[in-house]
């Protein structure tokens, strides 16, 4: 085996690291626009899914333009913040702030029959990683029109079921206000929701922690909207 001097070793590693870093930086820059596009399309698909519109990555952008007709950013008092783009609000960052300081994105969709839905983005912590989703309300800002949940790494077959239709379907028609004034959110009940209860859905057997996290996520993310909802419902 050849002997290499210390100087050679240092120069060799520096040059190698420099070349590798340069290559990776170029690759990352070139691929960034494609990656950002994918993330944007996925977000649009998720928003559409919460108002029960299924889309493919190909048609998502067009459908989004067609159905999502308006969006606002609200403050905790329920006032609209001017010149803010709801689509680019980073929920993770907002949730790190105290509730009164958060900026609250709200999307409005218009269906073919002219009805409007109000879509609230959600984000929380699951068992293994983040969970997120969108929940849409009818114009009374109380009745759930549709939901869409997703997760990063919940247990397949257990917590990961929050993504599935059977779990999301029962949310439709539930209400978040008791007697139209008291905020109660929607509870995910272990062992099954009481039949006919307007604020409860079934939890996932074996996915208790994820179910509980989902309930907490709904609560934390919807509470700040209360003022706006009570003021603007029809």
């Amino acid at each position: 085996m050849k002997n290499f001097s210390n100087t050679y070793t240092v120069v060799f590693s520096s040059v190698m690291v420099f070349i590798v870093a340069l290559l990776l930086a170029v690759a990352a820059l070139k691929l960034k626009p494609f990656q950002d596009k994918n993330i944007e399309v996925e977000k649009k698909q998720n928003i559409l899914a919460s108002v029960n519109i299924t889309s493919t990555p190909q048609n998502a952008v067009n459908l989004y333009e067609k159905y999502i007709t308006d969006s606002y950013v609200l403050d905790a008092k329920g006032e609209t913040i001017k010149d803010a783009d709801a689509f680019t609000v980073d929920l993770k960052e907002e949730l790190g702030k105290p509730a009164s300081m958060r900026r609250l994105p709200l999307f409005v969709s218009t269906m073919d029959n002219g009805t409007h839905q109000y879509i609230v983005p959600l984000r929380g912590k699951g068992l293994w990683g983040p969970i997120w989703g969108y929940i849409s309300f009818e114009k009374d800002l109380n009745t759930v029109y549709g939901v869409n949940f997703d997760h990063q790494g919940e247990t397949p077959g257990l917590g990961a079921e929050i993504k599935e239709i059977w779990f999301q379907q029962p949310f439709k028609g539930k209400t978040i206000f008791e007697d139209s004034v008291k905020f109660v959110s929607i509870k995910v009940i272990k062992g099954g929701a009481a039949p006919g209860n307007k604020h409860e859905v079934d939890a996932i057997s074996g996915g208790t922690i994820t179910s509980k996290s989902l309930q907490a996520m709904l609560d934390t993310c919807l509470v700040p909207y209360q003022t706006y909802f009570l003021k603007n419902r029809k």
Binding site: F4, T9, S13, L24, N38, P57
Partner: protein
């Protein structure tokens, strides 16, 4: 030595059976358990690992005369890591849904023992072209096992193949159910065990005394 000599051919095919990285050398088991619930991510993972082993073997083999032995493992790691990051970025840009399913496992290709194993055992001591072939062969050997396991798991666990329904609705109506066990990682380990058992019963030379 010609580029497609019988020696090179043997180099390419031996990882398929007698030198299989997963079932004989028992390397790269962790990802074999993690990404084989569905066939599509398993295939993408197989291709990604093949690309990384082949090209890291090629690059390291070209550099082998110039790498100071004292830092050779670090040099290998830098090359492997750079290739893995490239693969990850490309997947994210062009097959976003698959890259989401594979999540951290693409990054973990870096720690796949097959790659470091081939670099140390082969590329550091052989010419670039045979090293490249060796990398390809081992990558395919790995991909093959992943594909077999993923086919069984997706078919029995979800009733689909590559996302298409394979098991007809009439089966479900007749009381057939998807096997939830197949989705869990232990089933992958049991399937690997079955493949090893089958392979050894066919090849007596693999059985230890």
């Amino acid at each position: 030595m010609s580029m497609f000599s019988s020696k090179n051919f043997k180099l390419f095919t031996s990882p398929f059976n007698l030198q299989n990285p997963i079932t004989v050398q028992v390397l790269g088991i962790c990802s074999a358990l993690a990404v084989t619930v569905k066939l599509k991510p398993a295939l993408v993972m197989g291709i990604s690992v093949t690309v990384v082993t082949a090209f890291s073997n090629l690059i390291i083999s070209y550099m082998r005369e110039y790498i100071p032995p004292r830092i050779r493992i670090i040099v290998q790691l830098v090359i492997v890591a750079a290739l893995v990051i490239l693969v990850d970025q490309i997947l994210r840009a062009f097959v976003y849904d698959v890259s989401k399913q594979l999540s951290v496992y693409v990054g973990l290709i870096i720690t796949n023992c097959i790659i470091m194993g081939r670099l140390e055992a082969y590329a550091m001591a052989n010419k670039p072209w045979p090293s490249f072939i060796d990398g390809l062969g081992n990558g395919f050997g790995y991909a093959m096992i992943l594909a077999i396991i993923a086919t069984v798991r997706e078919l029995l666990g979800s009733g689909t193949l590559l996302g298409h329904k394979v098991i007809p609705e009439s089966f479900y109506a007749g009381g057939y159910m998807n096997n939830g066990m197949m989705i869990m990682p232990p089933m992958a380990l049991i399937l690997v065990g079955l493949i090893i058992w089958f392979q050894r019963s066919r090849n007596k030379e693999l059985i230890e005394k």
